[in-house]
């Protein structure tokens, strides 16, 4: 079961590649975080998945092989684009009617229930709502289409912390109840840690990390010890990143089970630290199955 699958997908704008040679498989039934710095190609990838952007190279399919952007696929996918582009001059009620007119799958009662729970007035013009409310309207509309796959592109980037929290809470409540596959992109990792169970790190148009959040956290550890011993430790461990200080240094180490060298302390890592470490070392990758084998075969 895959939500999004790409094979050597690339997208070129003029002379520069927004995404290059991107092969990935986003599992279905998961809440997938697509993270990476600005300009990593996250939006490009997600826009491709809903047919708003055509790949320059490679192939992309959604929901187990459906052509991205085909009407059949769009019926089963809801997309909340970056900056929540709703029609500001339409009232909330008219926005619902617009979607009812455009969508083949639509649960009006569900949308109204969600908006009522959020105290968002239906006669109000969307442009007069706060940023948080606009995002909630977009989410309510997306969820009321009962999608099999919900794609959100930087859904909370412009929201204040309280609105972020409310948005994520509304999202998670619905996703848990429906079992919807979710892919959301963000350049802020901290907010995703509580909600996501699968992580994809995209950097400079390439997939750097892909995997189960629990597995990634279980197989990465932070070693702290004397800087003088860093060289010897690095030689015997799979070190992703070394951060040296005068006396103490910190290493992010990849290992299923870790017995620390004498005089070193081992700590669990967190998602933010893990992502930042990989982003600092562009050549380091943590990829599942086939891709990893391919790498070792070519090495």
């Amino acid at each position: 079961m895959t939500a999004i699958e790409t094979q050597q997908v690339g997208k070129r704008y003029g002379r520069s590649w927004a995404l290059r040679d991107c092969t990935l498989s986003v599992p279905a039934g998961r809440v997938v975080a697509l993270v990476g710095p600005n300009g990593a190609g996250k939006s490009t990838l997600l826009n491709m998945a809903v047919g708003l952007t055509a790949p320059t190279a490679g192939r992309i399919s959604v929901l187990d092989g459906a052509a991205a952007g085909s009407p059949g696929a769009l019926d089963r996918i809801a997309f909340v684009a970056q900056d929540v582009p709703l029609y500001p001059h339409l009232s909330v009620a008219d926005t619902l009617r617009l979607v009812a007119s455009l969508a083949n799958r639509w649960d009006e009662a569900d949308a109204r229930r969600r908006l009522a729970a959020l105290n968002i007035p239906l006669p109000r013009k969307v442009g007069k709502l706060s940023g948080g409310q606009q995002a909630q309207v977009a989410l309510a509309v997306a969820l009321a289409r009962h999608p099999e796959l919900l794609i959100l592109d930087e859904p909370v980037a412009r929201l204040d912390p309280l609105a972020r929290h409310d948005f994520m809470a509304a999202l998670m409540a619905s996703v848990v109840e429906d079992g919807t596959s979710v892919v959301l992109s963000s350049h802020v990792v901290a907010e995703l840690e509580r909600v996501c169970d699968y992580l994809i790190v995209l950097a400079a148009g390439r997939v750097q990390v892909a995997g189960d959040v629990d597995t990634l956290l279980a197989t990465h550890h932070v070693l702290t010890g004397p800087t003088a011993e860093v060289e010897s430790v690095t030689a015997s461990y799979d070190v992703v990143l070394t951060q040296r200080a005068d006396r103490q240094s910190t290493l992010l180490v990849r290992a299923a089970q870790l017995a620390p060298p004498p005089g070193w302390r081992v700590d669990p890592t967190n998602l933010e630290e893990l992502v930042l470490s990989y982003l600092r070392v562009p050549e380091a990758t943590a990829l599942p199955g086939p891709t990893a084998r391919l790498q070792s075969a070519t090495a």
């Binding site: 708003l52 952007t53 769009l74 019926d75 684009a81 582009p85 029609y87 007119s101 455009l102 969508a103």
Partner: protein
């Protein structure tokens, strides 16, 4: 019976799907068009009733032939009072289709692309082709109806002038009467929609639409219109005006030689020696010189209108098809 029951029994006027979407999203633009055309119509109706009254009062609807001396005083009076406005109004209204087309057509898709709302509209499950075709048909159809209604108002307003000046004269009432006005409105609309899709920004798309519309209409009037049908050439008395579109006029002698201004002046014996009017006719007749007119007669009005309308219609359909194709293919 309570109000609730009454309202429940009334069938609700509910248009469905893309028709409603198109209407809801473009109703303010269409309302603006209705207001502009309605205001012009009101002015034409008010002014026209006075002009029609004067026409009847002066007996011009019964005085025949109109270009005879018997009707001369009445036509002079009527012309003195109304000729300026009858000349000016169609010249202004000639450009109205450009404005209607540009301001309704250019934002149709450009605004979605500019504000990013296309990402919302095109991912709800409705096929993009259906989305754009419905919008083009709905908005274009409304423009067709209101522009047609407006040309009928104009035709009524201009009606008294047709026996006097004809309706073929290029650059005048011809441009606002008949079907050419409507065709140019729809051409402007399709052009605006197409340029909006390509340029992706509303204001530059409006500007480009106006520019291209003017260029196309100007070139077609100057270069293509004369090719529709070979003009007639006839000898006419001075002071007799044809009811058609005069393209050229000259004096020629029995041998068919075109006389230059110098030759004509020499013939007249220099300025001041002759008085204008029919004495010139006598002088010309004595010398065997004829006043020739090359023109398109008023009877060709509908032939010209239909040919031009078909021309604009074909271009409009091609632009519409190109717009649909581009929206289907468009990916950022």
């Amino acid at each position: 019976m309570s109000a609730v029951v009454v309202s429940a029994r009334l069938p609700r006027l509910r248009v469905s799907g893309m028709t409603w979407v198109s209407w809801r999203q473009h109703r303010s633009a269409l309302a603006a068009v209705a207001v502009v055309l309605g205001a012009f119509s009101a002015v034409l109706l008010a002014h026209g009733s006075g002009m029609h009254d004067a026409y009847h009062r002066l007996g011009l609807d019964v005085c025949r032939p109109l270009h005879s001396d018997a009707c001369g005083a009445a036509t002079d009076l009527f012309s003195q009072r109304y000729a300026t406005i009858a000349d000016l109004v169609p010249r202004i209204l000639t450009f109205l289709p450009a404005l209607l087309g540009a301001f309704v057509g250019a934002p149709l898709v450009a605004r979605e692309l500019e504000s990013g709302t296309f990402r919302f509209a095109w991912t709800q499950g409705t096929d993009r082709t259906r989305w754009i075709v419905a919008k083009l048909l709905m908005v274009g159809g409304t423009l067709l109806v209101v522009a047609s209604a407006f040309t009928l108002v104009f035709a009524w307003w201009f009606d008294p002038w047709i026996p006097l000046v004809g309706r073929m004269a290029s650059g005048q009432a011809y441009e606002v009467e008949g079907t050419v006005f409507v065709a140019r409105t729809l051409f402007g609309f399709a052009l605006g929609a197409f340029l909006g899709v390509i340029i992706k920004r509303t204001v530059p798309a409006i500007a480009a639409t106006l520019g291209v519309w003017f260029a196309v209409v100007f070139l077609s009037v100057v270069y293509l219109r004369p090719m529709i049908q070979e003009p007639l050439v006839a000898a006419e008395g001075m002071g007799t005006s044809t009811d058609g579109w005069v393209i050229d006029e000259w004096f020629q002698n029995r041998a068919g030689h075109h006389l230059s201004d110098i030759e004509m002046n020499a013939l007249m014996g220099g300025p001041g020696k002759t008085n204008l009017g029919r004495s010139i006719d006598q002088l010309l007749a004595q010398n065997g010189i004829r006043h020739m007119v090359q023109y398109q007669p008023g009877s060709r009005f509908w032939h010209f209108q239909i040919v031009e309308t078909v021309g604009y219609g074909v271009v409009t359909l091609l632009l519409g098809a190109a717009t649909v194709w581009w929206v289907r293919r468009r990916t950022s």
